[in-house]
């Protein structure tokens, strides 16, 4: 079963990426996490994202486009990236989610990857 481990972080955490005092621990934790996923043979893809202030959101309603700077929803924690993992069940997926560094400072959401059937994939 494939699951997405979605990483949500707050502004403080995004600033840790470039803060010289905190960047070592921040990237060290993520580097170690992705290497553990790889070495355990469960890594199935994923990506990190630039901070939410680099986002641009678009909506089209009644043939009218609205474009604005920033993420579409104004929440304290914003999507910062995702890991795709291939594990036997949800319990194992939750174990890996608990190891994700963001679980300790932001939030981590686990979602099964939608399996497209022959009907829905047309």
């Amino acid at each position: 079963m494939k699951y997405a481990v979605l990483v949500y972080e707050g502004l403080e955490d995004y600033s840790a990426r470039t803060d010289s005092d905190r960047a070592g621990a921040y990237w060290g934790a993520y580097r170690a996490y992705s290497s553990a996923l790889r070495e355990a043979g469960v890594a199935a893809g994923g990506t990190a994202l630039e901070p939410p202030d680099r986002a641009v959101s678009i909506r089209i309603r009644d043939e009218k486009r609205t474009v604005h700077d920033g993420p579409f929803a104004d929440t304290k924690e914003q999507l910062g990236g995702m890991f795709l993992i291939d594990v036997p069940d949800l319990e194992t997926a939750l174990e890996w989610a608990a190891r994700c560094p963001a679980a300790a400072w932001g939030a981590v959401e686990v979602r099964p990857v939608l399996v497209m059937g022959s009907d829905s994939a047309q």
């Binding site: 060290g28 170690a32 553990a36 355990a40 174990e95 190891r99």
Partner: protein, 414 residues
């Protein structure tokens, strides 16, 4: 009026904390139906919250709750019109009259029955510790789910299935007879230890509920030893939990970072708990039947020597691990033994012992990688150490452990 209302709520909360498990044990062992017993008890508590503020707190709140719960259960019987049900109703009403005139202190402690039911072989293994938490500690499914890293809806389902199975199989709530007792007791001990272990490493040192869980597991260990005397493994488990608990204040530094055993300030170890553990272990050893829990407690006892200003006898610890691996081989014991071998024969020997462990068992086992990192560092194998630290850091779900390992890894460079 306001005052008496606050007072009633306080008494209800206190009774719920102190006597809920005893009440549930009494009700459930008669009904053989945990759902019905839990529902009746919940109704009785709700009734207490309504009536006590108006009519005042009864002289014996616990007896009042028991009577009210039993009345609920008898009401349930009224729906059936058979002659047998009529007689059952009458008999129970008589029992209820008698019970309400006795103080709960005069009844035998039935909580033991709940322990044996929760750890019953018919209950699927993964549901035993959660069920014990629910029945004996009264925790809700959402809290239990968090403790066991499961989704709350899946955990609720698991608990409901376990209780249905107990009811459908008509399993007796009696404490098992002597022939069956050793294996049933073993399952109870394993389950209590699972509860203790779950509460042992909180993701955040300030989580009060986990502290309470540990205290409860130790209290259960003491209860078991008291109600079932002469069982060395029960004493061994209690000694093991007490030793672990004794070191808790030393396991984190002021910033919440994990502190490994070697580096702990032994002055922070709780002497009273250590002494209680040692008395238990000594009493268990008199039976000449060392089992898994006595051996694990003995290993902790050997480490506790430092609290008394003595050195750790690594050869003794190695002996205990060898026996532990002989009777119950686990990846945890094999990893710990390798660290002990490194103490006695040097890091290379410890690494060689780790090398022999199967790949499938170690690929996501954090302590293996943490041990390998430390031993590689001691052996001067810098690149191997860095890789192993990374693996251990990536497998940690505790930020305090992660911070400790990141610090260790950064220091190799020097």
């Amino acid at each position: 009026m306001r005052e008496s209302s606050t007072e009633s709520v306080r008494v209800v909360a206190e009774v719920a904390r102190e006597s809920r498990a005893r009440l549930l044990a009494i009700l459930a062992s008669r009904e053989r139906d945990l759902h019905a017993a839990e529902d009746a008890l919940a109704d009785a508590f709700a009734q207490a919250l309504e009536t006590w503020p108006v009519e005042g707190v009864p002289t014996s709140p616990v007896a009042w709750l028991l009577t009210a719960s039993r009345r609920r259960l008898i009401d349930g019987l009224r729906r059936s019109g058979s002659e047998r049900a009529r007689l059952e109703r009458l008999a129970r009403t008589i029992e209820n009259e008698v019970a309400s005139n006795l103080e709960i202190e005069m009844w035998p402690d039935e909580r033991l029955k709940l322990l044996f039911i929760a750890a019953h072989p018919a209950v699927e293994a993964s549901a035993r510790a959660p069920l014990m938490l629910q029945l004996v500690f009264g925790l809700d499914a959402a809290t239990i789910a968090s403790a066991f890293l499961a989704s709350p809806s899946a955990m609720s389902g698991r608990l409901v299935r376990a209780k249905n199975r107990i009811r459908e199989l008509g399993i007796s709530f009696d404490v098992p007879e002597s022939e069956e007792l050793p294996s049933r007791l073993r399952s109870v001990l394993d389950t209590i230890y699972a509860v203790f272990g779950t509460a042992w490493e909180p993701a955040d040192g300030t989580e009060v509920r986990w502290t309470e869980l540990r205290d409860e597991a130790i209290r259960l260990g003491r209860l078991l030893v008291e109600l079932l005397p002469g069982r060395p493994e029960a004493e061994g488990l209690l000694a093991l939990m007490l030793h672990c608990e004794a070191r808790r204040p030393a396991r984190r530094d002021s910033q919440g970072r994990f502190v490994p055993l070697d580096e702990q300030d032994v002055a922070l170890w709780d002497l009273d708990l250590i002494e209680e553990a040692e008395r238990r272990l000594a009493s268990a050893a008199r039976h000449r039947l060392p089992g898994r829990f006595q051996l694990e407690a003995a290993i902790q006892s050997a480490h506790a020597a430092r609290r008394f200003g003595r050195g750790v006898d690594w050869a003794d610890i190695a002996l205990f691990y060898d026996e532990l691996l002989r009777i119950e081989p686990t990846i945890a014991a094999a990893t710990a033994r390798a660290a002990v071998i490194a103490r006695i024969e040097g890091p290379e020997a410890g690494l060689a012992a780790l090398e022999r462990l199967p790949e499938s068992a170690i690929k996501d086992y954090q302590p293996f990688w943490a041990t390998r990192a430390e031993l590689s560092r001691s052996a001067g194998l810098r690149r191997e150490a860095e890789a192993a630290y990374d693996r251990a850091i990536g497998l940690s779900d505790d930020p305090g452990v992660r911070a400790h390992l990141l610090g260790r890894r950064a220091r190799i460079v020097d």
